[in-house]
Symmetry: C2
Subunit: 139 residues, 2 copies
DNA sequence: ATCAATCTTGACGTTTACGTCAATGTAACT
DNA sequence: AGTTACATTGACGTAAACGTCAAGATTGAT
């Protein structure tokens, strides 16, 4: 929300976007070569729109979840294709449901991981407590 | 739980483990070279224990979340080091809390992503509904 | 006008996480 | 004893996702 709306300008140079998201120009150009971004040009220079900025957010978020750039592109495509014909829309929706299932699965997986890890933490906490009482009784 | 406990045997050949987790022998050998696994040997052959099996589960789960093998090793180390001295235990616990925070952050991130995506899905659903009513009124 | 800073496009290098042989060893049938 | 089947260790190859230079083009400041 902050990133999408509250970012002052409505156009960004490559450097501004890089600074904002802590990536390098090379990264943005690479994403463009992979057709994840498509900034317009002013002369030769790239000019990124709010939409580009929003897409970049999604890209980086996807990466944090371990999605490949190819998978991320599929996701981005789903965000775009709000136009198209009826049949196209239905296809989009079907893919969207599938993607959503993927995300859900990841969430369940993550929740399980956190539970396991918490349990492990409690084991260590207990050991620490025991060691401390050992120490106090030894004194 | 199923994988950890209910897997019949208590020792596994490389092939059994590969089949169980759908990875290749090369992968297991690579993990071993990175010191993520350390099966004992019978002659030259690798023999994996239940502990190895559990670690492999954690490795693959970590990968699904986009952790690098290096990061995963840190996590595994935390699971191991239940021994060690008092000071060591406290350090372990501190690292464990940090890792837990990382996982929490990832969970928040994922929840946000799912919410965003659901919203996008609803947009498409609405468009589809409109298009359909357009069609029916057009007839 | 010029000089430094910043952008551009190649092109090649690098890291991670394995894949893919090749050569060899060994266990288990037959 | 011979063959089939799978295991082991190198060693080299590869795809993804950039990093890193090189060589020009532009643009703003002096």
């Amino acid at each position: 929300m902050r990133d999408t709306i509250d970012c002052g300008a409505t156009q960004f140079s490559i450097r501004e976007l890089c600074d904002a998201f802590e990536v390098t120009p090379r990264t943005l150009r690479f994403y463009e070569s992979q057709e994840l971004l498509s900034p317009r040009r002013e002369g030769a220079r790239r000019v990124y729109s709010l939409r580009d900025r929003a897409r970049l957010r999604l890209i980086l978020r996807g990466k944090r979840f371990g999605f490949s750039l190819a998978e991320i592109r599929e996701l981005l495509d789903l965000y775009d294709m709000g136009d198209g014909q009826l049949l196209q829309l239905e296809k989009t929706l079907t893919s969207a449901y599938e993607k959503r299932d993927q995300l859900e699965a990841k969430r369940r997986d993550l929740n399980a991981a956190i539970e396991d890890f918490d349990q492990q933490i409690r084991v260590i906490e207990r050991m620490l407590a025991e060691k401390k009482s050992d120490f106090s009784t030894a004194v």
